[in-house]
Symmetry: C2
Subunit: 361 residues, 2 copies
């Protein structure tokens, strides 16, 4: 175990230990650490020496208790396994780092009750600002947050109606745009694979967007086929199987996110169903995966990194007491790739080889 020194794992050295060793008061040590300008170079040197020798690290709890500042923000995301959150969070953290702020991350597994616990946990740990995903949660929490005076920013959605400041995009409108294109292409039998909508307002907004587009196009907004499923490639694949089992197969499968779409496409290939000749597929998010799979996925691009960075800036200014900034909308953008085409008028004929690669474009 011990590699050299025989120093056992005594409890960590305290400010007082350092003070004693450097022959100064604890106040001086504290000043050395926090506002070195107030201390003579000589004493400072002596103190730092002691700090080094003892391997001193301040006790965060005590510091917070006394100073009432934590320089810590918190973020709660549904899951770390979803690349879109990971990516935005990385950017968020990088930006916070520039301001000397530490980020605490927790994940809720898409469960409201867990999220609530996490919010309390992060608050208790002194998070001075909070980043949350989506608006949908109990009002109690918002009043709790308000009571504790904790600035909270909602990401991944943009909705100026809501009282909380948000940064993100209009999920409904973005999906509506995509759906309009799909309809314009001639698709009428539309199927949807969505993430579970109950605890996920992004998912439900996206589904709504599709309905809206259908209504606007004069289609019956209830005529579409919807499957809700957990997040994961395999779930997407499985949902696709079920969809293809319907007596009336859809001509397009619109997925609530790219991962589900990737599963659908993989499954299509496995079943010998050609995309987009036999069935079109669309995604949402534009994660890296989207451009790597074959055929490359037509999807909605979301500026994740930018959202993370912007969220950090906004939250910092809120915590600094510069008032509530206005909610900020980020632009999404259709990424036309190879999985969306007009429905084939003819019955799809069983394909001969693995197809001759639909002439791109």
């Amino acid at each position: 175990m011990g590699s050299g020194t025989t120093r056992s794992a005594t409890s960590a050295p305290t400010l007082e230990d350092v003070a004693e060793r450097a022959r100064v008061s604890t106040a001086t040590v504290s000043r050395c650490l926090n506002s070195p300008g107030q201390v003579t170079a000589a004493t400072r040197e002596r103190v730092m020496q002691a700090v080094r020798e003892l391997g001193y690290a301040p006790n965060f709890g005590a510091r917070v208790l006394a100073a009432k500042r934590t320089d810590t923000f918190g973020a709660i995301i549904p899951t770390m396994e979803n690349a879109i959150f990971a990516r935005a969070l990385q950017a968020f953290q990088e930006e916070l780092g520039k301001h000397g702020i530490t980020l605490l991350v927790a994940s809720s597994s898409y469960r409201l009750d867990i999220e609530e616990d996490q919010i309390r946990a992060l608050t208790a740990r002194g998070a001075e600002g909070l980043l949350l995903i989506g608006h949908h949660r109990s009002p109690d929490i918002y009043s709790f947050l308000q009571q504790h005076g904790i600035p909270t920013l909602i990401a991944w959605v943009y909705d100026p109606q809501e009282p909380q400041v948000s940064v993100g995009f209009d999920n409904r409108r973005a999906m509506e745009m995509l759906a309009s294109e799909v309809i314009a292409l001639g698709h009428r039998r539309i199927a949807v694979i969505s993430a579970e909508q109950s605890a996920n307002d992004r998912a439900s907004a996206r589904v709504e967007g599709i309905r809206l587009a259908m209504r606007k196009a004069g289609l019956d907004p209830d005529s579409y086929d919807l499957i809700e499923t957990p997040y994961g490639i395999d779930f997407g694949a499985e949902a696709f199987v079920r969809l293809m089992d319907r007596e009336q197969r859809p001509t397009v499968v619109m997925c609530g996110n790219d991962v589900l779409a990737a599963g659908a496409i993989r499954q299509a290939r496995a079943m010998g169903i050609r995309v987009p000749e036999d069935v079109s597929v669309t995604g949402f998010d534009d994660i890296e995966l989207a451009s790597v799979i074959v055929p490359a996925l037509t999807t909605v691009h979301v500026p994740h990194r930018e959202m993370g960075r912007e969220a950090a800036r906004m939250l910092v200014s809120m915590v600094r007491g510069e008032g509530q900034p206005a909610s900020r909308e980020l632009a999404t953008e259709l990424r036309w790739r190879d999985t969306l085409a007009a429905p084939s008028q003819t019955q799809p004929k069983p394909d001969t080889a693995v197809s001759k690669q639909h002439g791109f474009k």
Copy 2:
């Protein structure tokens, strides 16, 4: 803003406020919260009522200071953007949750100096146990950790030689296995795309594994072509271009991870180079991506979730003072899919459909 009560954001209520309102001592309130069994149902009810009315949440710093327990572990990963870490971490966190432990996550961007800061930050924040990736870091840190008595577990590697307990796999041996297969298949012109090795002992162990296999096969271990590149699909693609520019093209490109491999494969397709007919490609990690891309990637499967879960169990037992468990090796496994084949002896004949592109050779 305020939805009902006019309560402004006064500073958060304290234990004392609750005590006063419930007409008991602070001790009783504390007991209600921490060991409710010791309190009469009646008083408990009264206290809880007060807690609710006040929206009380304990001050973490104060609690830690007094109780000397934080129930918090820390983990530092190189980046959240890499799915393998995200996935293992998710499992790690889930397992810790069962023990009532909160996880604090930080990311170091593959930089040793940042990691060091993060270690100190997490320590100061009361992390009682630490999960770190890979062995490679300054000895000062290990003595710091030891001095503070913070159990530390190293993941993603297995090396019983090292003094720190680790859970993971033998990167070198795993890659050696794969490389042996590659060589057995007849490949002699081997190229490698690796992550940067300097701050990443997993990457360097993997490269070493390839050299080892070559040596064992009687090949000159310096005859291979190595490109180091940052993490990312596009970087993999770019490296692939450079490799294909060599006057003597390799017959196989072994990649340090699946993401680089995905980039290489995407690029091959873009260049009209067939995989595996013209060039084989291998990966490492077996992330979801590997089975979705076309052709599906031959790679080394690593049990990320299991590693995360196991890491949690081991670290918990270490923190509980149950002594140093032995390092634990997890099995990796070759996943044969479609990107690795014997090098074509004959000149690759231009195939009719997809391409006559690759002029080369």
